[in-house]
C-alpha cells in the first residue's frame, strides 16, 4: 500500500509516543499517507489503522474530523484561501473571488485539467500576512494580492 520511505516515516512518528499508545501517530500517518497518494482513499485509511493496530472506524473518525484530510481526489495543487474576518479585512475575501474568476471554478471544485482545486479555509494563524493561501497543506503564501496570485498560478504548472 505504501512505499518503504513512507513506512519509515510512519515509524518515526510512532516512536514519539509510549509503546502502548501507537494510535497517537494516526494524525501524522494519515497526513503522510495523503502526501503519498494525493488524497485519502478508504483503503489507505484502513491500511494506516492496521499498521497502528487500531480499529479502521477509529481512523476514519479522525480522517473525517480534521479538515485538511482529503477524502476525495483533488487537483495537483490544492489552494486553500483564508476568508476569515482578519484576512477578509485585508483582502482575503477578494482574493478568493479573484481566484474563482481566474480559474473559472467555484469553491470546492477542481479545474477540468485537474491542475487546481480551490478551497475556502478557516484561520491559519497568519492573519498579519493577509491575504494568505496554503498550497497542498504545506506551503503558506503571504500577502497574496492579484500580482502575487498571478505569479503563483504561473509557477504551479
Amino acid at each position: 500500500m505504501f512505499t518503504a520511505e513512507t513506512l519509515q516515516k510512519f515509524d518515526r512518528e510512532v516512536a514519539k509516543y509510549p509503546a502502548d499508545q501507537k494510535q497517537s501517530a494516526v494524525m501524522a500517518c494519515l497526513a503522510l499517507a495523503q502526501e503519498e497518494k494525493g488524497w485519502l482513499p478508504a483503503e489507505a485509511i484502513e491500511a494506516v489503522a492496521h499498521y497502528l493496530g487500531m480499529p479502521p472506524m477509529a481512523a476514519m473518525e479522525v480522517a473525517t474530523f480534521y479538515n485538511m484530510y482529503d477524502l476525495k481526489p483533488v487537483g495537483k495543487y490544492k489552494l486553500t484561501v483564508c476568508t476569515n474576518l482578519p484576512c477578509a479585512l485585508s483582502g482575503g475575501y477578494h482574493a478568493a473571488e479573484y481566484l474563482k474568476q481566474k480559474l473559472g471554478i467555484e469553491m470546492g471544485e477542481t479545474t477540468p485539467d485537474g491542475r487546481f482545486t480551490l478551497r475556502e479555509g478557516e484561520c491559519m494563524g497568519a492573519c498579519g500576512d493577509a491575504p494568505v493561501m496554503l498550497v497542498n497543506n504545506r506551503s503558506m503564501c503571504s500577502f497574496m494580492l492579484p500580482e502575487q496570485i498571478d505569479k503563483l498560478l504561473e509557477e504551479l504548472k
Binding site: 514519539k16 509510549p18 501524522a28 474530523f65 479538515n67 484530510y69 476568508t83 474576518l85 479585512l89
Partner: protein, 442 residues
C-alpha cells in the same frame, strides 16, 4: 524582522528575523543558561514555581490563568508518567504570535518546557502545532533535533539525572483542538472533542496521567522570567498584569504584525506603532483579544490600555492578544456573518446547544446580510445565544455567542438598517477599497 515594533522586548529581544533561530544563536543570547543553572544547583521545584508565581505571568493562550498557580496543581510526587504539553494550536482568528515564536525563537519554548517539566516532575512533553503552519512545525522539529544533540532534552540531561523527552505533534485543521482537553484527545489519536471537567488535566490528562498544558508564549517566557527574577518581570508590566506580551495586530492598520510591548501600554500607542489606520480612515471598532472576545467601539478602545484588567473593565477580554482593527469601511453585519460561519464550521458537534445553536446563529446573520432579515431576528439571535451559553462542555459555545451579543449591542442600528432596508450602510465599493485589494475588473 521577527517583530515589527517593540518596547522593552523580552521574548523577541536580539532576534534577527529568520537568521537567528538556531541553537548557537539562542545560546549566544544567553539561552539554556537557566536550565543549566537549575540542574547544576539542584534548585528545589517549589522555588522555581514560587518565582513563576511572583512574576504574575498569566496564561498567554487566552484564559489568562496564573501560570505559577496552575503548575502548583500538579501532583509532583505522584509516581509514574507525568506530562507537560505546549499548545501551539493557534487558530483563533486574529492570533498569529505563536507562529512567530516557533519560527524565530523555538529554543526559548524548548527551554521553558524543560524547566516546567523539571518543576512539575514531568518526564515527557509534546508541542501540539497548528497543522496549517507546516513550515513552523518543521522548524520546531529541527530545533528539537539540535536540542537533543546538545543534551538539553533527552535522558539524563547534562548529567543531572533529570530526563525529559520532548516531541512535536501536528494538528490537521480543527480549531477546537486549541481547547486543552480536545488537544489531549487529539494527541491520543482521536477526534478532538473536549472532555468534561473535572477531572482536570492536572489529575487526569494525557493517557490519563497528570498533565499541564500551557500556551507557547507562556512557556517561552519562563527562561526569561527566571533569569531576570519574577518581580522584575512583573514590574515590566503593571500590578496583576505582569511582563511584556506579544500582540498580533491585524485588519485595517498600515503595518499588521506582531508587537511586543509591556502590559498596560495604551492602545493608542500600539496603534501608532502599527503606522496608524490604513488610508487614514476612521477607527470604527476593535476586537481586542481574538474573534471570541466581545467587539468594542473604537472610541472605547482608544481609552483602554493593553492588559487583562483594562480590557475586561471595558467589557471585553484581552484573550490571546489578537487585536483585530476595523475602520469605517467595515460592514459589521458581514463581519459577524463570517465569524458566525467560523464557529458553526468548527463546532465539534458534541453538545446539542452548540452544534444546533451555531448553525442558527450563522443562518440568521446570513439572511440579515443578504436582505432577508425579519423584524424579530435580533431578538431571535439574542435568545439563541442565551440558550447556548453555559450549557456546553467547553467554551466554544460561549465564544460563538459573545461576538453576536456584542456586535448587536454596539452596532444595533447597522443590523436594523440591514433588516429594514435590505441593504448595507457601507457601500460595496467602499468595502472593496477598505480591504486594500486592488479591485478586479470583471
Amino acid at each position: 524582522m521577527a517583530i515589527l515594533g517593540a518596547i522593552n522586548p523580552v521574548l523577541m529581544a536580539g532576534l534577527d528575523g529568520d537568521n537567528s533561530w538556531q541553537l548557537k544563536d539562542y545560546v549566544a543570547r544567553g539561552g539554556y543558561e537557566m536550565l543549566k543553572k537549575i540542574l547544576a544547583e539542584n534548585i528545589p521545584q517549589e522555588q522555581v514555581i514560587a518565582e513563576v508565581k511572583a512574576s504574575v505571568l498569566r496564561g498567554r493562550g487566552g484564559a489568562g490563568f496564573p501560570t505559577g498557580l496552575k503548575w502548583s496543581f500538579m501532583p509532583r510526587s505522584f509516581p509514574g508518567d507525568k506530562y507537560v504539553v505546549c499548545n501551539t494550536d493557534e487558530g483563533e482568528p486574529g492570533t498569529f504570535k505563536d507562529r512567530d515564536l516557533i519560527r524565530y525563537n523555538p529554543h526559548a519554548v524548548i527551554e521553558g518546557m524543560a524547566i516546567a517539566a523539571y518543576a512539575m516532575g514531568a518526564t515527557r512533553g509534546y508541542n501540539y502545532i497548528h497543522g496549517e503552519v507546516w513550515e513552523m512545525y518543521k522548524r520546531f522539529e529541527a530545533a528539537l533535533d539540535e536540542a537533543r544533540a546538545a543534551g538539553f532534552i533527552g535522558q539524563n540531561i547534562l548529567g543531572s539525572g533529570f530526563s525529559f523527552e520532548l516531541f512535536a505533534h501536528h494538528g490537521y485543521g480543527a480549531y477546537i483542538c486549541g481547547e486543552e482537553t480536545a488537544l489531549l484527545e487529539s494527541i491520543e489519536g482521536k477526534k478532538g472533542q473536549p472532555r468534561f471537567k473535572p477531572p482536570f488535566p492536572a489529575s487526569f490528562g494525557l493517557y490519563g496521567k497528570p498533565t499541564t498544558i500551557n500556551n507557547t508564549e507562556t512557556f517561552a517566557s519562563i527562561p526569561f522570567i527566571l533569569k531576570m527574577g519574577g518581580e522584575s518581570f512583573l514590574n515590566l508590566g503593571k500590578p496583576n498584569n505582569g511582563g511584556t506580551k506579544l500582540f498580533s495586530v491585524s485588519g485595517h492598520v498600515n503595518r499588521p504584525g506582531n508587537y511586543e510591548i509591556p502590559m498596560g501600554t495604551p492602545f493608542s500607542e500600539l496603534l501608532q506603532m502599527c503606522g496608524g489606520m490604513r488610508g487614514g480612515r476612521k477607527l470604527k471598532a476593535v476586537i481586542p483579544g481574538g474573534s471570541s472576545s466581545p467587539v468594542l467601539p473604537g472610541d472605547v478602545m482608544m481609552d483602554c490600555t493593553m492588559d487583562y484588567d483594562s480590557i475586561s473593565k471595558a467589557g471585553s477580554m484581552l484573550g490571546s492578544g489578537a487585536v483585530i482593527v476595523m475602520d469605517e469601511s467595515t460592514c459589521m453585519v458581514k463581519s459577524l456573518e463570517r465569524l458566525s460561519f467560523f464557529y458553526y464550521e468548527e463546532s465539534c458537534g458534541q453538545c446539542t446547544p452548540c452544534r444546533e445553536g451555531t448553525n442558527w446563529l450563522y443562518k440568521v446573520v446570513h439572511r440579515i446580510e443578504n436582505g432577508l432579515g425579519r423584524p424579530d431576528d435580533l431578538d431571535l439571535l439574542s435568545s439563541v445565544t442565551t440558550n447556548i451559553m453555559g450549557r456546553t462542555i467547553c467554551a466554544l459555545g460561549d465564544a460563538a455567542s459573545m461576538p453576536v451579543q456584542s456586535f448587536i449591542k454596539h452596532f444595533r442600528d447597522e443590523f436594523a438598517h440591514h433588516i429594514e432596508h435590505k441593504t448595507c450602510l457601507v457601500p460595496k465599493d467602499v468595502q472593496w477599497a477598505g480591504s486594500g485589494f486592488h479591485k478586479v475588473a470583471s
